[in-house]
Amino acid sequence: MEQFAQLFEGVLLFKWQYLIMYAIGGVLIYLAIKKDYEPMLLLPIGFGAILVNLPFKAIWEYEPVLDETVTKIVNQFPALKDYFIENLNYVFENGQAYKVEPGVLQILFNSGILTELFPCLIFVAVGAMIDFSPLLKTPKMILFGAAAQFGIFFTILVALIMNKIFPGLGFDLKVAASIGIIGAADGPTSIFVASKFAKHLIGPISVAAYSYMSLVPIIQPPVIKALTTRKERMIRMEYKDVKVSKIVLILFPIFITIIAGIIAPSSVALVGLLMFGNLIRECGVLERLSKSAQNELSNLVTLLLGITIGSTMHYESFLSPTTLIILLMGLVAFVFDTAGGVLLAKLMNLFSKEKINPMVGAAGISAFPMSARIVQKMATKEDPQNFILMHAVGANVAGQLGSIVAGGMVLALVPWLLSL
């Protein structure tokens, strides 16, 4: 009878919370397949969420095995217990030491997320995909890449205020910074910062970042409309098709890396690898590497990143009010990012002769190229002859830079402020 029960141990250990996680995973898969919302990430994340919520969690870790040698050592030297738990995957029950070997997804998590390897590799791929020439032709647009990071800092503040009202949330400065960085509208940056400051929240933060990036077409238009008049949305912008010399395209990533490295050293891992990818693209002699970065590297890392992020969504950590609040905070971040960009454009219009269509400011978020397309679509809706796409693309690629710089600032400032 006991052996028979062992056969069905999975059924006996089944928990109702698993069903909720299957539903959440199912929704993500549905959004990916049916709605085409960031399918390359939401589908693996959704499936990862299902995988890690199966009885025994076998894909995350193997069954504990009794280790008599370690049991004896720890009984003799109890001070070593914490070391075995933290560094060598041991658990202790009734004075016995059990070795828990990591499963496939935990190995990927430890080596790809905790080391920040996956987000950094993604940046090489992204850099190889981005053409910065629209920004080089209209350099003023780079300012929107900074303004549209306002949501990050505003959300950090909101998270801290929420923590003051509901102290049980546990949003200290580090956690609040990890939540606010959802506003970078840039998955790898969010994962990078969260892996430094709030490892336990990587799951909900990543899901929020990628979900809202795919929801940019729904989030941005109402905010833009609320902050602009029809007349402002109809502003036409002259586009001078200045050609960019090859040497500028090559020097740009090198100089950006040096400047960012000197001013914001914490951002080097991100900016440096983004610019490395871009240099491969622009140098003209590494076409094969550039194509590999854009295709093979990007596809492979995205695949592993998605399923690994999904595997952090175990019900014990995911099904909590904190997750809901993080999702809500993500929305706040995207709304105020958009507002920051639009309001800076309006401010610039007060002092500038050449008027800027304020909608272009909203494209300063990092969701590329979706945000630029939305802005152009809205412009065409108001005036079918209005063509602001290239300006919006310039602001949008500036958003890539702005989000990384803001991420670097958060990484540098949080430990500094905490040390004061």
């Binding site: 780079i142 020097l251 001013i263 400032l413």
Partner: protein, 45 residues
């Protein structure tokens, strides 16, 4: 310092820092575009 005060400081320095770096990028782009303008020969090459 309270957490909210820290958040305000983070917002102040964070936005200031981000804008400073971005303005430096802007100046760099402007200078690069001035020093190395596009020449027609590039097309021929």
């Amino acid at each position: 310092m309270s957490d909210i005060a820290l958040g305000l400081e983070l917002m102040k320095y964070g936005l200031l820092g981000t804008f400073s770096v971005i303005v430096l990028f802007y100046l760099m782009i402007t200078i690069l575009m001035k020093i190395f303008p596009y020449r027609n020969e590039e097309n021929d090459n």
